[in-house]
Symmetry: C2
Subunit: 136 residues, 2 copies
């Protein structure tokens, strides 16, 4: 869990439209580029649980608000964080941990994941939401 990392990201205001940082090659939490994709999570819905054996996630929430919960099945420890434009940080999740996330805003909740490898179903495990007890 000590390798979970939160990095504050710059938001640069501009009268024509703001700019928000996501990830640079020179950032400490850059672990190589494999794929970038967006995932959305509807209000009050929860996606998860998923555990990757190789993928390192870099999660950014440019729109809406998303609560992420990370679970370590070796120690039984949980960690949660809600990201949004008002708490604009990048969440880096190492492999080997369970992740689930919930849509908190009742409009669009958008997550960008910049991952170190391309999507590969053979390197991840899924389990049902109920299989890891957590008070959402």
């Amino acid at each position: 869990m000590d390798d979970i990392r939160l990095s504050l990201l710059k938001q640069i205001t501009n009268p024509k439209g703001d700019l928000y940082h996501a990830l640079k090659k020179s950032d400490d939490s850059f672990n190589g580029f494999g794929e970038a994709y967006f995932t959305t999570v509807n209000f009050d819905e929860i996606k998860g649980w998923k555990k990757h054996t190789k993928m390192i996630l870099n999660l950014i929430v440019p729109v809406g608000a998303v609560k992420f919960v990370i679970f370590n099945d070796e120690t039984g420890e949980f960690k949660d964080i809600t990201l949004s434009q008002s708490n604009y940080q990048r969440l880096t999740v190492p492999s080997g941990l369970w992740v689930a996330f919930k849509g908190v805003s009742n409009e669009l909740n958008l997550v960008l994941n910049i991952a170190n490898i391309e999507h590969d179903p053979s390197e991840s495990e899924n389990c049902l939401l109920e299989e890891i007890k957590y008070e959402w």
Copy 2:
């Protein structure tokens, strides 16, 4: 202008929230990873013109609609394309071309740029919107 590339991207529907592809390392239009950042452009506002000497842009519009115009100052040629969730493509722009873009939807217009190098003000030139005549 022949190196400008449009790549159709997958949109995967999911009852809990959809997933949209952005860029994979194995894609033809991947030119290395330097930085990913978001830029927004308000309704009817135009950002530009900017010409990069090194940066190759990979532009994706996950929210709203954005009209991009590309200008070649050697040939006088223009190319325009409007991207949105209903025309969900990745626009790859090589260096050496002028780019400007306009917010088309009256809600949030969000652009993700995945660039081959980190932001470096010394490798780009700006000029005023009026300096390159275009009927927006």
